[in-house]
Structure formats: structure tokens, C-alpha cells
Amino acid sequence: MQTECPTCDGAVVLPAGTEVSEIISCSECQTRLVVEEVGDAPRVEVAPAIEEDWGE
């Protein structure tokens, strides 16, 4: 699966087993991305910014 980074338009390859909502990084511009769709028409968006109540 391959799509484009919304920030730099670089190619983003989604390996097999990638899940919707998974956080990945663009290999070209390092932007944190969230996977919105997988399958025939994969799509990623810029990941949501870290919020105050995130994490352990």
C-alpha cells in the first residue's frame, strides 16, 4: 500500500498489517501521520497534536 504525505507529498508506504488509526512517520519529512484508510485507497493525515491528558 502506498499513498502521499499530506505535508511534503512524498511517498508513504504502508506495510502489510498497518491498522487504521496507527501512528507512523513520513520517511521524507518526518511528519507524524495517522492512518485514516487502508486497502485499495490508503490515506494518511497529519497526526493530532499531543494533548495534555495523553499518555501514562
Binding site: G17, E19, V20, S21, E22, I23, V34, A47, P48, E51, E52, D53, W54, G55, E56
Partner: protein, 305 residues
């Protein structure tokens, strides 16, 4: 017996959730991914397709609401709302540990600068640690070394902070030996532990602390068992201080005059109810994700009885 079905409550999926998913699939568990951000938690319309759920939301607030809602629908959620509500709040965690006589650093909660000065003296003076009672990833922790810094930080919080930031949770500073311990505890049993090494007084791996395997001694296992019991059990990650060499915390006494039964040498700092563990499987050689799923399987089987 029918296939075990597990609800996995999540928001963004991190490496930790990927490991859990893989462990569940390896064990033949059917996982229903529930992105809580896309749900409508309306009791008149929502129908859960699982009887046991594992809560893995990166957002504490959203995760807690999801737990409460699903519990109201009769779903057994790990961790429970009772455990989550204690562990999300450092002051409540400290109170629960102290009530059960589990060694933990001295602490106090105040609402004004004047009380902060007095509390600092009660906790042994400077340096003292100020933490948000509700906080994560080591953010906004302050090691306050003198009165000037205390005054400045309190003033900033009073002027700029939200209501939660205006409840000042103080903790005795514990002089660590360049490391602390993160123990992974499931159903009261330590399944793995790491040292978190850092030259900085904050050792969170989220802040750059380096992990290495920590042996599980009987003393470590025992204090973690008691701490787990104090907050209600489940799947927990405990931050543990080594306090040997005469450095002991409040846990040497239970605050009511009675001596604790804790082994010397450890003190429970914090307990996390949505543990992050992906970087701890390699140094420990333990499949923490597998142990999490195994625990959920046990609960699901008990639920069917």
C-alpha cells in the same frame, strides 16, 4: 467453547497496541477494534459485541468515559473505572498506598502559596517535587530547590494554570541512584521490570530514560503485590524507587502510628493504569503484550462461567 472476543478501546494506535493485537491474533482471540473517538456512547443505541474490553486510549479523559460507559452496559473493562480513577490521580494513588501501609514518598496537597511553604517544611525542606495530580509522561514536574523558585512556580500556576493545576501536589524528593524501576504488574504479579537510567532526576523513558532489565526480587514482587491490591489490581505499571541506605519514605510508617510490613529498600512512586511497554519487551525478554492478552482471556473465561 466459542472463540473469545475482546474489545480493544483505543484512539491512535501506537506500537504498544500493535503488539497487543499481534499477541491476541497469535492466541486466536477475536479482537474488535473500538476507536472511541468515532463512537456515540448513547445507552439507547450502543450495543457492545463483546463482554470483556481492554482500555488502551492514549487520552486519559476519553478513556475514562469509555470505561464508565461500557461498564454501565455490563462489559468488564480492564482496567476498571475504580482502578483508573485512583491511578490517574497521583494524590489519590498516594492516599490509597498510604491507607494500605505501602511504602511511598511523603506527600501533601495544598491550594495556596502559604500552605505550600509549610508543606515543603513538613516534607523535609528543599528540594521538593511539585507535580500535577493529573499528569503524564513526566510533564510539568518541578524539582524546586529554594523559596524563590517555589514562589515563582506557584504564581505561574495561579495565574496561567487551569483549575487542576491549582491543586498543588507535593512529594518528598527522593535521591535516586541514577535510576528507578518500572515494574509491570498483572493481577498482583510482577511479570517484568526494567531499570530506567538517566542522569536527570526525571527518568521516564518518554523523557529519554534508558531501559535495562531489572531482576524481580522477592522484595520487589511483594511491594508490587501490595500496591496492586491497594489500588484494585488489574494491569498496572509501577514506578518504584530504591530507597536503601537510610533513605526511606513515608512508608516506614502508615501515617497512623503503626509500622508497615514493607520490605526495606523500595518505595512506590506512581502507578499507571494504561501502561506503555513496547520498549520494555526487548530488554526483559518478556512478552508483556502476551501477558496482557492472557489476563484478558482469563477474565473472559471467568465471565462465561
Amino acid at each position: 467453547m466459542s472463540k473469545i472476543r475482546l474489545g480493544l478501546l483505543h484512539s491512535t494506535i501506537r506500537g504498544d497496541e500493535k503488539l497487543i493485537l499481534q499477541a491476541a491474533r497469535d492466541r486466536g482471540v477475536e479482537v474488535e477494534l473500538v476507536d472511541i473517538r468515532t463512537q456515540i456512547f448513547n445507552p439507547e443505541t450502543y450495543r457492545a459485541n463483546f463482554k470483556v474490553a481492554l482500555e488502551r486510549s492514549v487520552s486519559t479523559v476519553k478513556g475514562n468515559y469509555a470505561i464508565r460507559f461500557l461498564e454501565a452496559q455490563g462489559v468488564k473493562v480492564v482496567n476498571s473505572s475504580a482502578v483508573a480513577s485512583l491511578c490517574e490521580d497521583k494524590f489519590l494513588t498516594s492516599l490509597a498506598l498510604q491507607a494500605q501501609g505501602v511504602a511511598t514518598p511523603k506527600f501533601a496537597l495544598v491550594f495556596t502559596y502559604e500552605q505550600a511553604v509549610a508543606a515543603t517544611e513538613q516534607l523535609g525542606g528543599f528540594p521538593v517535587i511539585l507535580k500535577p495530580a493529573l499528569g503524564s509522561w513526566g510533564r510539568l514536574l518541578s524539582k524546586i530547590n529554594d523559596l524563590d523558585a517555589l514562589e515563582t512556580i506557584i504564581e505561574h500556576k495561579e495565574v496561567l494554570g487551569g483549575p487542576q493545576q491549582k491543586a498543588f501536589y507535593f512529594q518528598q524528593f527522593v535521591d535516586k541512584p541514577g535510576r528507578d524501576i518500572r515494574a509491570f504488574v498483572i493481577d498482583g504479579q510482577v511479570i517484568a521490570a526494567i531499570y530506567r537510567h538517566s542522569p536527570h532526576w526525571i527518568t521516564n523513558t518518554a523523557r529519554g530514560g534508558q531501559a535495562s532489565n531489572c531482576p524481580i526480587t522477592p522484595e520487589l514482587a511483594e511491594i508490587c503485590r501490595q500496591a496492586s491490591q491497594a489500588v484494585g489490581g488489574g494491569i498496572l505499571a509501577m514506578d518504584v524507587f530504591e530507597v536503601g541506605g537510610g533513605r526511606r519514605g513515608q512508608g516506614t510508617r502508615n501515617g497512623r502510628g503503626g509500622k508497615t510490613t514493607q520490605p526495606a529498600g523500595f518505595s512506590i512512586n506512581e502507578i499507571n493504569h494504561t501502561m506503555e511497554f513496547k520498549n520494555s519487551e526487548a530488554p526483559t525478554g518478556v512478552s508483556i503484550s502476551g501477558a496482557i492478552v492472557d489476563y484478558c482471556i482469563r477474565l473472559a473465561k471467568e465471565n462465561e462461567k
